[in-house]
Amino acid sequence: MKDRLRKVLSSAPLHIAILGIALIWSLPSVGLLMSSFRPRNDVLGSGWWTVFQHPFDFTQFQLDNYIHVLTAEGMGRAFLNSLTISIPSTLIPIAVAAFAAYAFAWMEFPGRQTLFVVVVGLLVVPLQMTLIPLLRVYNRLGLAGTFLGIWLAHTGYGLPFAVYLLRNFFGTLPKDLFESAFIDGASHLTAFFRLALPLSIPALASLAIFQFLWVWNDLLVALIYLGGTEAVAPLTLKMANLVNSLGQNWHLLTAAAFVSMALPLVVFLALQRYFVQGILAGAVKG
């Protein structure tokens, strides 16, 4: 009993410090969240922290900001556009990269090493360098301003890292497993679908989170290849426009910001189980 108390006390300073840092870290987001639910006059008249003066007075919160932003300001449309862009832009590169990574890890073919080095080398190419040449090609092919165009662009930008990460992960899977499968009668395709993929779920999930967040938060690539038209603009673009047009309307901007943050949060929370597993998988053997 006494030991236990001492244990709790001795780790208390650490816990308090961590808690403090976490609080400071999340303060801006909390403020954003509070403001997004407050009426316009309240936001302009007092700081968000004043809501804590009457913590149980729920009349100081309302959903009007969200309703307004999603309908009148076109955030709803932008949200759908963002989804239309992000989901294929996440799935396509991961699918392609998984096949490539398997080949790099487990198939013997001439030039394998060189090709892999080239792919990894592409990691250092700044994407800004590719914008103009690629856009010219897109214009000629009629891909500029289409969703297909931006899917391909994100696939291209995401592939080198995805191939690199997955190849390294596949490479750490025990060789015996694959050899055993080949003796059991598996082809490379079977080994890929029945062994490599199921055993790499943590890596695939981590990669999906990274790629999804990167595409979701991307402004530059969308602006260049899609242009700013209402029909195709994603959330990031819309947000940038809203800051111009609604500069003083904090109650609306905060709501809009939260709309754009909501999905990444959900994705992260849904996949974080695998994410943590992925980090641990390398550390704990067995």
Binding site: D176, S180, F182, G185
Partner: protein, 366 residues
């Protein structure tokens, strides 16, 4: 149900020659053990047959079929890996059924074979578990089961027992032997443990640095090793060796090992007449060195004065570490022995079981 032939097979990894001119024939239904120290090319020999490595030179046949260019899945073999290589995300049942499913075996047939193998190995209660929920011994049995259900022509096993504790290993050893008798299939089994080799193999192939040293039944290997390496490798404790010279005459030939001199039995001396006067390496197994008080009758005795340096009681026997001059050797004697550390005894060598080797070629002198 097939014989296996290695025809002058060589495998190089860059500069390393892992298998050097391997030329052996494994008969149908045989239990061949590949035995040798670490790095001698046992695993490579096995992997060549499995099709996981391509021979640099030479041909490999399963039955009459040349399999050099046949991919692993078409060789009709099954392999148990040292790590077991169980598929971690599949249940025990699915692990065992995997190969059959890939071969489009009917579902009912798969179920029948998996159940049968599971009962045979005593793992029928574990079919729903994942590999990580199994103990080492259970995993080993699942790995064997996965090989059995395929009903292959040849079983390959790469040190399947090395991850088990000593007791379990003895048990599993007996089970594998039984399995071999029951399945009547060719087994090729890799180990660096000579006890496993001696107890399980119908024949043993001893390898050293990729070169086959001797291939024969355990009995022959033990009683007449072909060279110094095999003699020293097989048997525990290892055979005692002395640098010696053959002196005297054909009628009265002695082995002179400086610190002692023993008479060669006359029949043996006749066979050795060409070696008279030559340097040899004289080998004698510890169990052929006796305590004079408990010496079995009817042996041709050679007497060696020695001092007892260390005694080790093993329960049913005692190891005496003896010294003649500064040369040390081991005797494996009756547990009733009264020899104590520091005693001078006159150890009795059983001269009917001596081994002589050429010091240059290290080959046995017959």
């Amino acid at each position: 149900m097939a014989s296996v032939t290695y025809e002058h097979v060589t495998k190089c990894f860059g500069d390393v020659v892992a298998v050097n001119d391997m030329d052996i024939k494994v008969e149908d239904k045989e239990f061949l053990v590949l035995l040798g120290p670490s790095g001698c090319g046992k695993t490579t020999t096995l992997r060549l047959l499995a099709g996981l490595e391509e021979p640099t030179e030479g041909n490999i046949y399963i039955e009459e079929r040349l399999v050099n260019d046949v991919p692993p899945k078409d060789r009709d073999i099954a392999m148990v890996f040292q790590s077991y290589a169980l598929y971690p995300h599949m249940s025990v049942y699915d692990n065992m059924a995997f190969g059959l499913k890939l071969r489009k075996t009917p579902k009912a047939e798969i179920e029948r074979r998996v159940k049968e193998a599971a009962v045979m190995l005593g793992i029928e209660g574990l079919l729903g578990r994942k590999p990580k929920q199994l103990s080492g011994g259970q995993r080993q049995r699942v790995a064997v089961g996965r090989a059995i259900v395929r009903e292959p022509q040849v079983f390959l096993m790469d040190e399947p027992l090395s991850n088990l504790d000593a007791k379990l290993r003895v048990h599993a050893r007996a089970e594998l032997s039984k399995l071999h008798q029951r399945l009547e299939t060719t087994f090729i089994y890799v180990t660096h443990d000579q006890m496993e080799a001696m107890t399980m193999g119908t024949r043993i192939a001893v390898l050293r640095d990729g070169v086959l040293q001797q291939m024969d039944t355990p009995q022959v290997l033990y009683e007449s090793p072909a060279n110094l390496f095999v003699a020293g490798f097989i048997g525990s404790p290892a055979m005692n060796f002395f640098e010696a010279t053959l002196v005297g005459s054909v009628e009265e030939m002695y082995i002179d090992a400086q610190s002692f001199r023993v008479l060669v039995p006359p029949e043996r001396a006749k066979e050795l007449k060409n070696c008279l006067g030559k340097d040899v390496i004289f080998g004698i197994r510890p169990e052929d060195v006796h305590d004079p008080e408990f010496c079995p009758p009817n042996i041709t005795a050679g007497r060696v004065k020695a001092k007892v340096d260390v005694t080790e009681l093993m329960g049913n026997e005692v190891f005496l570490y003896l010294l003649t001059d500064s040369k040390s050797f081991i005797a494996r004697v009756d547990p009733r022995t009264r020899a104590r550390v520091g005693d001078e005894i006159e150890a009795v060598l059983n001269m009917d079981n001596i081994h002589l080797f050429d010091p240059q070629t290290e080959e046995a002198i017959r």
